[in-house]
Symmetry: C2
Subunit: 208 residues, 2 copies
């Protein structure tokens, strides 16, 4: 039995989707990010970084998204959400998810979380104004070099797909011209056809 704490509408969606896709037995508990509940002492006791997600199986837990996704794939190997027996392919998968985590999500975070890296309102506005450009640059690279198609890693659906999907749903809100990203948009549409995706989106929507 897995437990997932998640803030609706955040990158925690990626792990939520992966758990559902893997057919895991899990309990998903919404955390009210808007009211800063993730900064409460109760929540910090289970997630010292105060970030939007945390998952585990009772004995072990983790919170970084690229790691959460690998954890799900490793603990539920029958779902075949990662090429666990091919170290190089697995490393490619992790490189993609690390790019999303370290560069793309960080670029996006400058829109609404500038206070992490600066103090003045003018800086926050400046950072926010640059997000369309930085996110477009990241997604140009993804579009051109990274999506093998039809899924991120090629013929097989992996834990890269829910993570890409999750961040790609932010593009319009980030002011990116999605018409320049046909592969990314086709991937997003393809994701919506999966029953697991439909089910999780409905559930997060009810709790948002």
């Amino acid at each position: 039995m897995f437990g997932l704490y998640y803030a609706p509408g955040t990158c925690a969606l990626a792990t939520h989707l992966a758990l559902e896709e893997a057919g895991a037995r899990y309990e998903a508990v919404p955390v009210d990010f808007g009211s800063q509940a993730q900064r409460s002492s109760e929540y910090l006791a289970i997630n010292a970084k105060g970030r939007v997600s945390r998952a585990g199986d009772g004995k072990r837990h983790t919170h970084r998204n690229s790691r959460l996704l690998l954890f799900v794939a490793q603990r539920l190997p029958k779902a075949e959400l990662a090429p666990l027996s091919d170290p190089f392919a697995l490393a490619q998968l992790q490189e993609f998810n690390s790019y999303l985590c370290s560069t793309v999500h960080v670029a996006h975070a400058h829109k609404g979380r500038g206070y992490r890296w600066a103090n003045d309102e003018t800086s926050f506005a400046d950072m926010k104004s640059k997000v369309p450009q930085t996110m477009a640059a990241c997604f140009s690279l993804i579009e051109r070099d990274m999506i093998k198609g039809p899924w991120v890693m090629g013929e097989t659906y992996t834990v890269c797909d829910p993570y890409l999907y999750t961040i790609a749903t932010w593009l319009e809100g980030d002011g990116v011209d999605v018409s320049a990203l046909p592969k990314v948009m086709a991937h997003r549409q393809r994701m919506l056809e999966r029953p697991a995706v439909q089910k999780v989106l409905a559930e997060e929507s009810l709790n948002s």
Copy 2:
């Protein structure tokens, strides 16, 4: 034979240290980051992201630091720089290195690379002024919760150690009070006692 392109004094040091520690046959090629050579068309052809490092074995290559380090550990298993046969321990190692890559290095980057996320000089100055605080917060968490000792993962030296060392050498320059970080500083000292570290530091120093 591995090839490593590196900018002296950057996080590429971590991979340089790991290659040396693993007893790899490798060629380390300095790239002049100051003159923006990493943005030259020649370099971008081998590293589309234009970042400070890139390594490979002729057939395959990668450039994200957390990934480079795992790549070295996997390709040189006899050096035992990662618990390759224990998926959970390996995942813990990757979580640590991902934290350095996605959060700590990103915090540091706001000192000198604010132009990645904003446009105005005033924003760059604001971001820079906050670095002592963000880096101190990251390293408090590392000091309190992450270093098992004597090495990051406990009794065994792994690819977490050169990465932590590399970023920890930036602390004074980032304005962090290192007296509050006794474990981190003891780790830094312990690293300096390793012949591989001494050799690589001397080489990078000659090329900086």
